[in-house]
Symmetry: C2
Subunit: 207 residues, 2 copies
Amino acid sequence: MTKLDIPRKTVYRLSLYQRGLQWLKANGTQTVSSVALARAAGVKPTQLRKDLAYFGQFGTRGLGYSVESLSQKLTEVLGTARLQPVILLGAGNLGTALLGYYNGFAKEGFEIVAAFDAVQGMRLTSGRKQPVLPVSALAGYVREHGIKMAILAVPATAAQEVVNIVVAAGIQAILNFAPLILQVPEHVVVNNVDLAIELENLSYFIR
Amino acid sequence: MTKLDIPRKTVYRLSLYQRGLQWLKANGTQTVSSVALARAAGVKPTQLRKDLAYFGQFGTRGLGYSVESLSQKLTEVLGTARLQPVILLGAGNLGTALLGYYNGFAKEGFEIVAAFDAVQGMRLTSGRKQPVLPVSALAGYVREHGIKMAILAVPATAAQEVVNIVVAAGIQAILNFAPLILQVPEHVVVNNVDLAIELENLSYFIR
DNA sequence: AATTGTGAATTGATTCACAGCT
DNA sequence: AGCTGTGAATCAATTCACAATT
């Protein structure tokens, strides 16, 4: 079974399970059933079991799952065992906000190590630990530090251009906040977070 | 065909098509084919046509779709014809950021009319047009102004409690940024935006 | 000639039902 | 007795293939 045979939705739910497990661990719970953990993740128990089955057998029949060892296994599968350096592209309104937000994420396995912006030394310079560098330094930085992940928070008009630069420099995954569909090569993964569309989508459901 | 027979994913893509159409309209383009519009939305042309087929026939064979009239139709279907008042729950780090971000959204059909926080008069008071009200005023405000949509940006520990209040007061749709699965009645729609999980998910795909 | 609209075929995801362990 | 693991069945979404229309 290769990584590509595993449904993206399954991988996504793994993170939900992981969160449930963290919560249980903090509570001192040792063991959890698929029913209980599935409820915390908002899915059906059979789905949770099927999801885990892609990666192996982690439970004990009649008993459930060990919170500690399942969460360890998920960490391994998800690749969050080591702290992952991430760069922030765009230090405007949204970018600044995200920086503040993600600064609390070291415990989740990610650290924003630098920000880049067309305008150097933006708002966020003061009181932040990350430097705000010019776009001209982007390709070099990514290559030199072997950065694999980027958060994209530039205006839609600049997005594709910036993406081309980081992709050429070796970026493998992009969390995209810009409201457009990015064109990237096969081997680059993009997750889109589109706040305007989420709101618009909700408005369909209110009568 | 009732609203519930239409796949959520289809509704979601409608917003992507709408965005493509806006872009074409701004460019002065009159007509667009399913191939071209689908590319802008990052989907296959047949999917776009199937999606539209849920709502009717809007194209002209041999020619394509009228940019103007299709976008008008989507506005109608999505329910974004009128400006929709939205409340922001939580005026902390992320909440403040979202407020700044969504302030640019009046053109998209949404307006944040008030923010609520446990701590009154938070950071964002100065320079913002929206009042920051205490949670005690929440239920009354929602009922009085007939608010239907809320953006939830409070800590996970407070989230369910706040949701219970707004749901009881009549809220119908929630854009949830808090990292947990909310328990809500059938008739309330929740869209989750989980930034930590999006990053974690990406880390699975980098080798 | 070009392009939509759509039934049929396919692919993918979820849920069921129960065998297999502890 | 309780709960996982999983093949089979079901349900849902996507894509194909082509007839219909301008």
